[in-house]
Symmetry: C2
Subunit: 237 residues, 2 copies
């Protein structure tokens, strides 16, 4: 009797960007877990889930956003222990994660740690809309057509990585660059890719911003911001 752990991608923030499959998984699960930070603030994933489920159906898993590797590992351990208990009894646990559970998701780490505790667990994922796709839609930007290529990377991979992608790929999407926006935009300008770039943050939520990247030069942004460098102007919308 082995339980099922399902990573459910709930999209970037707009509760309606959840898939029908994801919604059904949340409804059918014995337990629905949502990650929360230690600030007490309701997280994005929790907000989406709350739109669709009764509040008492969700269980909050505390993930302190710590730069301390040991503290983070301790977080994973505690969270994994909590999720492992019902899994050992053969129950189904859904874990709601923003975006897609296979794209830069906390779910990957959680699932690995749970597997250490309950090796026979069945791990599944249900895809979710990524911020890149939502920004393209809201910004009227075509991501790819014909023979074009796209590079998706986090700015934390390094300046050279972004620079090299901008010089080669028709479309480049940069995540996690918000706090170092000035550096990101300097590189883009040097590569001649600032003009047709678009910036988005808090997509589908209060305070949403979708704006041409050239208009935010000199500003800072939140960690979870998205930049799309395209070969063409914003075409629609």
């Amino acid at each position: 009797m082995s339980g099922r752990l399902i990573g459910v991608g709930v999209g970037p923030g707009d509760p309606e960007l959840l898939t029908i499959k994801g919604l059904r998984a949340l409804h059918e699960a014995d337990h629905v877990f949502v990650p929360v930070g230690d600030t007490g603030e309701v997280g994005r994933a929790e907000r989406v889930v709350q739109t669709h489920l009764e509040p008492e159906r969700t269980r909050r898993l505390l993930f302190a956003l710590s730069d301390d590797t040991a503290a983070r590992a301790e977080n994973w351990e505690r969270a994994a222990r909590e999720v492992s208990e019902p899994l050992r009894c053969g129950e189904t646990c859904a874990f709601a994660t923003i975006g897609d559970p296979n794209v830069y998701s906390t779910f990957t780490y959680l699932a690995r740690t749970v597997k250490n505790h309950v090796p026979e667990v069945n791990v599944e994922t249900i895809p979710g809309i990524t911020a890149m796709q939502d920004l393209a839609a809201r910004g009227g930007t075509v991501l790819l057509e014909g023979d074009e290529r796209l590079a998706l990377l986090p700015f934390t991979a390094g300046k050279n990585v972004l620079q090299s992608a901008l010089s080669t790929f028709e479309t480049v999407v940069c995540y996690k660059g918000g706090s170092r926006l000035r550096e990101v935009l300097e590189i883009a300008a040097a590569e001649g890719r600032l003009e047709d770039a678009i910036y988005g943050s808090r997509l589908g939520m209060e305070g949403e911003e979708v704006i041409g990247a050239s208009e935010i030069v000199g500003r800072k942004g939140p960690y979870l911001s998205t930049l799309i460098f395209s070969r063409r102007e914003r075409e629609f919308g």
Copy 2:
């Protein structure tokens, strides 16, 4: 009075991978268009839409899959004229497209041609799950974590493009390589990227195939197939 043209991404094939937002757009539109080939076969997008809407709600737009550029342009023209009529009266038209409407989608071409006919039209898109995401979920493959980068490209961009991406990017996704699968897999083998690669076709539909790429060496696949070259083994599932 300007109409709205909405490109609705309906996902790769599984009717449940449509978003709640996409479903609402299909329900609320005055007209729902689906692309069909000239073989009379029900297309993927149409199949998803048929699961959720009454058959008489959908209007089929014929797109002959022709290698002849002039014939294809003629197709776009005819389709655009049909969609433009209700748009001129201020009505809302939804166009269902597999995957995401901003990722290698026929919607881009249709919207452009419609804009020539009805310049004041409001073009919108609603993101949809891509085949890459669905294959990752069904195959138990993590696409990205930490500082990793992903390259998404069509094999039609050329052998060198694939080769160069495989030598640089932690994750590479190759579309449209089905009919030239042998060449794709030869390049992957030469780059040492065959072992941890996964192949998928007809995802979420009858005849679905999700299989390690090393097991299909020597075979051919359909045009709409997906390959994920990852840095790690299939981890879950």
